[in-house]
Amino acid sequence: MAYIIRRIILLIVTMALVSLITFAVFQVMPGDPIRIMLGPDADEVQIETLTKKLGLDQPLHIQYFDWVGGLLTGDLGQSIRFSKPVSELVIDRLPVTISLTIMTLTLVVLVAIPLGIFVAKRKNKLSDVVFSSVTQLGMAIPSFWLGMLLILYLGMNFSFFSVSGYVPWSTSIVGALGALLLPAMTIAIPQIAVKFRYVRNAILEQLQLDYVRTVRSKGITEKFVMYKHVLRNSMIPILTIFGLITAEVVAGTIIVEQVFALPGIGQLLITSISYRDFPLVQGIVIYITFVVVFINFLVDILYSILDPRIRLS
């Protein structure tokens, strides 16, 4: 209980800090949201009317405290750029980003772990060396470029893959898969290329440990040794890494959503920053902070599920 309270306090402090930093950045960033939105063709009269109407004539710190005030009542405010409530915009886009994140993580887990095991079993053999080289390559690939490649080779040749836009799961599961698979692969492939190495090393490290010898001495076959004991134990360090990549994946979605025209949080964030949409930026930043802290929390809980030493201490 105390642990959960501490977590919640940490979450609140982090969110407050992040929002303050965002505020500070906006303080020094030039650019008037109304003008950016309307462009040079706007009628001055109209700009004046709108600025007043949206309260943007107020100094930024007043806007900030208004926003904080709203936040305390659960109101994230109104987006300037889209003339819609921030919460509505964020919630509309959540399914996309969350689906993409979960799909990416699933891909990473489903590929990196078996691949890591595969390579660990063949330590220092040819396949191990080959995959290590692939790692180097994987780390060097920029994700937008990889996205383009995937679009060119998969998107263009298989109508199953969609190269642009999003189809909600409720409309068509196949459509949603088609829309998300390429972007998920785009984020996942470099992650897999790097992370399977960690899995390999975690497993190799476990294989060195005394308990493995004990298990073997009981006459347990190598398959069981690997999948029941070693893998389960390796999950603890692996989980740490996967907790970390979640943040990287969320960051990855920002670029990939641009490339694939996916209407997710990342795309919204970029738009909101370039349009100086202060309430929207704050809303998204709060959301992302929440997600990252929440995932860390989840990882901690998973730790305790996996590791009785944590659970029972």
Binding site: G39, Q46, M148, S164, G165, V167, P168
Partner: protein
């Protein structure tokens, strides 16, 4: 084993989460693109997906100002009049009008069978409401300065609407198109942005920020023959590369294509080249040294090679200009001005020396980063200007900063920008340049130009108007108000089965006559 149970619980929990999330996404959204070419066999397609670079600023036509918004929403709205593809006007909600001899009173005859998308007929009260809203009569929040000189408005009967001006304005009719004054229903007050209702050939279905704007056929459109399409989806995609791929994958039916990528699409898609009436310029802050001196501006004009820029930035798909006015404006355009400053380095050096800068000078060219076009132009220009000793530092800034610093703050030396096309010759020449325009960021100041622009508003005779507009163009060229480089073409690539693609001298993707032929 107990641990397996715990794992199972965890995995099911995750699954439930995913399902819940996806269920929330629910309701609407685009259907999957099962309409890939070749898949449907017989039926002629009646739905189209058009790629647009970014979201509209507002759906409320009175709030919207970005040209990109009108590109879409003009399909939903009409004014009393409508622009034609050649820059002239045609009747719309007003069937006809009369102008009094003193040029002050406009009497509009309202078309009978026009209804709003919500089924209500258009009444003179709605028209009255529209103009009052724009003028801020009741709210005190004016949304346009176009109607400052309106003396009165009245509706003597249900089919007639009369507007009286305080002084003649030959450009006034251009304020009555949907670009400036879309007629909207009074009953929809306060909801124009969330649920836009107009009288145009298409009606609003949904808008998902960052995703798309969906319109559908207005079955009760007063012109019974139009439109042809049942559904139009404007999908937002800012990245040209991705858009091109989506076009090739059959997910988009229509998109603009950067000129240098035309070879990739010209075999499989139908291309249309829109002379879009926008002028790419490099201009100066003419209040400060050295650009307050006309000789310096002329020297820059002589030094810059328009053809270099057109070739390198637009792959040749552009027309050289001599002033703001583009050949797209037909008779208003003065032919020949583009040759006022033919690339001549010696001449440029001479002028610079006369102005007191025999060794040139250092300056800064500030451009926005939101379109690579500006940076590309700036690089060519900097190369050109180096030849006459002008050392140009290129400063690339964010669009918001450009607007703040250059456009509004006028805190700059040189900049490159394109001025969006307008249907009205007056607007093209007056905006940004005339000293009575608040948007004069060049700080151009020429008494004769201002006089000509004032005279033209009072001149009822069209031929004489043309003469005045042409004089204005001459002044801009002579005074080297800017380096008028080119009207670049927007190249549209579309499904080859599409027909009826109309092009206007401003940003408008007219969907009303568009249809698939097979």
């Amino acid at each position: 084993m107990k641990k397996n149970k715990r794992w199972f619980m965890f995995i099911s929990l995750m699954l439930v989460c995913v399902l819940l999330i996806s269920a929330c996404s629910g309701e609407d959204g685009a259907t999957p693109s099962t309409d890939a070419p070749g898949e449907d066999v017989k039926e002629v397609r009646d739905e189209i997906k058009v790629r647009i670079n970014s979201d509209p600023d507002f759906l409320d036509p009175h709030l919207a100002t970005a040209s990109i918004s009108f590109q879409m929403i003009l399909n939903m709205f009409e004014g009393l009049l409508s622009p034609n593809t050649d820059g002239s006007l045609k009747p719309a909600i007003a069937e006809s009008f009369e102008l009094s001899d003193d040029g002050l009173t406009y009497t509009f005859n309202i078309r009978d069978n026009v209804t709003f998308h919500n089924g209500e007929p258009v009444t003179v009260e709605d028209i009255q409401y529209t103009f009052e809203r724009l003028m801020g009569t009741n709210s005190g929040e004016p949304l346009s300065s176009n109607f400052d000189k309106v003396a009165s408005m009245e509706a003597p009967d249900a089919d007639t609407f009369v507007i009286t001006l305080t002084e003649p304005n030959t450009n006034f009719l251009y304020s009555l198109t949907a670009l400036e004054a879309a007629i909207v229903p009074a009953s929809n007050d306060d909801q124009h942005n969330d649920n836009p209702i107009g009288t145009g050939p298409f009606k609003f279905v949904s808008y998902s920020p960052g995703v798309d704007l969906v319109l559908e056929k207005n079955e009760d459109y007063w012109n019974a023959e139009l439109p042809h399409l049942n559904k139009v989806t404007f999908a937002f995609q800012s990245d040209d590369q991705s858009a091109l791929m989506a076009l090739q994958a059959g997910e988009y039916d229509l998109t603009s294509v950067p000129a240098h990528r035309i070879p990739e699409v010209e075999n499989d898609f139908k291309l249309e080249y829109q002379q879009n009436n926008s002028s790419l310029i490099i201009t100066f802050n003419e209040e400060n040294k050295p650009f307050d001196d006309v000789k310096v501006r002329q020297a820059v004009n002589f030094a810059l090679s328009k053809s270099d820029i057109i070739d390198s930035v637009y792959s040749g798909y552009a027309t050289e200009l001599g002033s703001n006015m583009s050949p797209a404006m037909g008779k208003f355009y003065l032919e020949g001005l583009q040759d006022t400053y033919v690339n001549d380095i010696e001449k440029a050096k001479e002028l610079l020396a006369e102005a007191g800068y025999p060794d040139g000078f250092k300056t800064k060219l500030t451009v926005s980063s939101h379109n690579v076009m500006y940076t590309n132009v700036a690089q060519v220009a900097a190369e050109n200007l180096k030849q006459i000793g002008i050392d140009v530092e290129i400063d690339v800034v964010e669009w918001g900063i450009w607007l703040d610093r250059v456009y509004r703050g006028r805190d700059y030396e040189m900049t490159a920008i394109d001025l969006t096309g307008r249907p009205s010759a007056y607007d093209i020449l007056n905006d940004y340049i005339s000293t009575n325009d608040a948007e004069n960021f060049f700080r151009f100041n020429n008494a004769e130009f201002d006089q000509v622009m004032a005279d033209v508003l009072l001149e009822p005779d069209v031929e004489k108007q043309v003469a005045l507009y042409q004089r204005a163009q001459e002044i801009l060229a002579e005074e080297a108000a800017a380096v008028y480089i080119a009207d670049y073409q927007v190249v549209w690539a579309m499904d080859s089965a599409l027909e009826g693609f109309n092009m206007y001298p401003f940003f408008f993707l007219d969907m009303s006559e568009l249809r698939f032929t097979e």
